[in-house]
């Protein structure tokens, strides 16, 4: 014990004393460092935001440019050298298939979301709450199914679509898109169902409801945030999809936004830039907006899907 206290005393003696001068220096250094870190933070934020959004900002500017302004060589592309015009925007809405594409996308998206929920909700509930000995393996398999690439499957789908007589129809997409949305939705929903305390459903069953009724009346309403997340996710996946949409549809009237814009607004070699950029921007913004509102939900759903219960 004595040796220990001596050792401590010796160690203390080596430690530098605090003196006011040195402290004031450290204080100043700390303040400078804090300031510098704030500057760096805002600089990084601005640079990152610009790099990410640069093409969209340009899109926004281009939309209102006159042809002579746009195609004039050497002119500053970021400002309006001639007065801006809404002529191209008008053209987009009235003389191109843009509105049709939007309509198709909404329709396909809506039906796909409905089908996804019908398939994924019961399956996720079963895997989350009614496990059979093979449920764990099955859940993983469903997730792995997601890995099978559309770039391979389209080959078989090509025959399937023509066999079903759905070639050149948006209903082909309605049939095929759930292959993309269902696996991930099942995974998300398993996480959300597991986060609901069992007690509440068990209470319902004690109160006289059957398991099925407990599912419909208790679990589903409580998993509502998860359902919202799945709706947005599934809709987004279906609006984004490009391969099947371009492979199986050729008529303008059936195209969705993802395919219609890159293909239909380019006539021969002539890029109708203003219409093109406007269309892309008009589609990007609403999706981004909704996504931002629900960002936190996604993240928690994702991580919950990974937590075993």
């Amino acid at each position: 014990m004595g040796a220990l206290t001596t050792a401590i005393a010796e160690a203390d003696a080596e430690a530098p004393m605090l003196d006011p001068e040195a402290l004031e220096q450290q204080r100043r250094r700390a303040r400078r460092r804090h300031l510098a870190s704030q500057v760096v933070l805002y600089a990084v934020a601005i640079v990152a935001a610009l790099l990410a959004a640069f093409p969209f900002i340009v899109e926004g500017i281009i939309t209102f440019k006159r042809d002579q302004d746009l195609y004039a060589p050497g002119k500053n592309p970021f400002i309006y050298n001639l007065d801006p015009t809404t002529e191209h925007l008008r053209f987009l809405f009235s003389d191109t298939g843009f509105m049709t594409f939007v309509g198709n996308t909404l329709l396909v998206g809506g039906v796909v979301v409905a089908i996804t929920l019908l398939l994924a909700l019961p399956a996720a509930y079963s895997l989350a709450r009614l496990p059979l000995w093979w449920s764990g393996a099955l859940a993983i398999t469903i997730f792995l199914v997601y890995l099978i690439p559309p770039s391979l499957l389209f080959v078989s789908f090509s025959r399937l679509v023509s066999n079903l007589g759905l070639q050149d129809s948006k209903w082909a997409l309605v049939v095929l898109y759930p292959t993309i949305t269902v696996p991930v939705s099942v995974w998300l929903l398993i996480g959300f169902f597991k986060s609901i305390p069992r007690d509440i459903e068990e209470q319902a069953m004690v109160d006289g409801y059957s398991r099925l009724a407990a599912f419909l009346r208790v679990a589903v309403p409580l998993a509502f945030p998860g359902i919202v997340a799945v709706v947005v996710f599934a809709f987004t996946l279906s609006a984004h999809e490009f391969l099947y949409a371009s492979a199986f549809i050729s008529s303008s009237s059936e195209k969705t936004v993802s395919v219609g814009i890159p293909t239909e607004l380019v006539l021969g070699d002539v890029f109708h830039w203003q219409e093109l950029q406007a269309a892309a921007l008009l589609v990007a913004l609403p999706i981004a907006f909704v996504f931002n509102l629900l960002l936190e939900r996604f993240v928690s759903g994702f991580t919950m899907g990974a937590v075993k219960g």
Partner: protein
């Protein structure tokens, strides 16, 4: 209360699984097997009858320089994209976990590349990289890095075109990877950061010795997702360069599309796409191992 069908849980479990499983088997598992079978046949859009040709399609591919280029590009683009994405996404994640004014706006803008459909994001870049109208060229000209009447021709020159494809893929993947990594970073308890501050660790030491090691699993997940998305993607290549110049930027997915849909030769398309499977198999193994480790801990 009589226990009816709605109560027998074993029965209910199977019944509720049935629609989803049936759909997946019918529309994924079966087509998957059929697609592989196609690669050994001579099925085309015009001639749908199945005739076995063995490895003919594969041999033809092997002799085709475009196929070899596509194979190389697929791996190269994916690897390059993933390295850049992981580095940038970590920086963006740190940014998003910090507190500052205007955060919602910055977050909105940073997420735009991911929330936009890939094809439409590519369209935006088609303009940005256009051989005549590129605003980037204009800026370079103003700054003096480029002669006033010369253009970079981003999408026309082989090296630049490849860089452009990688650039666009990184551009659209960083937001997704950043969000995933951010989730991992916020999972680190605040206490640990406080303790590191008390222990005397500055920003860089904390980042290197605490934050990065603890988010390594999440970074791996983000990298895996990003790699799979890039590896199997055809829309960016298709819309941005369409394989140009001279098929120098084709990847397996886009080349399979060219063969199968543009060319109508489904069998050859399948033979190309089959080569995507090795990496996906590796990804499968990685995921399964990670799951098993999770269940053990």
């Amino acid at each position: 209360m009589r226990s009816g069908l709605a109560d027998r849980e074993g029965f209910l479990a199977r019944l509720m699984l049935l629609p989803a499983i049936a759909y997946i088997v019918a529309l994924v598992a079966v087509p998957f097997v059929i697609a592989i079978a196609y690669s050994f046949s001579d099925v085309t859009a015009g001639n749908p009858s199945y005739d076995w040709v063995g490895l003919d399609n594969y041999r033809a591919n092997w002799r085709d320089p475009v196929f070899k280029r596509a194979l190389w590009n697929t791996f190269f683009f994916t690897a390059a994209t993933m390295v850049l994405t992981v580095v940038l996404a970590n920086i963006v994640a740190l940014l998003l976990t910090a507190d500052f004014r205007g955060k919602w706006v910055v977050r909105f803008l940073i997420l735009l590349p991911w929330t936009t459909p890939a094809a439409l994001g590519a369209i935006a870049w088609v303009f940005m990289l256009d051989s005549l109208l590129s605003p980037i060229d204009w800026i370079l000209q103003q700054v003096g890095l480029l002669d006033d009447n010369r253009h970079m021709v981003w999408l026309g020159k082989s090296g630049l075109a490849k860089a452009s494809v990688i650039g666009v893929q990184v551009w659209r993947l960083v937001p997704l990877a950043a969000v995933i990594i951010m989730a991992g970073q916020t999972a680190i308890p605040d206490d640990i950061h406080d303790a590191a501050a008390v222990d005397g660790a500055g920003f860089w030491r904390r980042l290197w010795e605490v934050t990065l090691p603890l988010t390594l699993p999440v970074i791996a997940v983000a990298a895996l997702f990003g790699a799979i998305i890039t590896f199997t993607d055809m829309s960016v290549v298709r819309v941005l360069t369409n394989g140009a110049p001279v098929n120098q930027t084709q990847v397996l997915a886009s080349w399979a599309y060219v063969k199968g849909i543009d060319g109508g030769n489904l069998a050859q398309g399948a033979a190309v796409a089959v080569f995507l499977l090795p990496l996906l198999l590796a990804a499968t193994v990685a995921i399964l191992r990670a799951v098993r480790r999770w269940e053990v801990s």
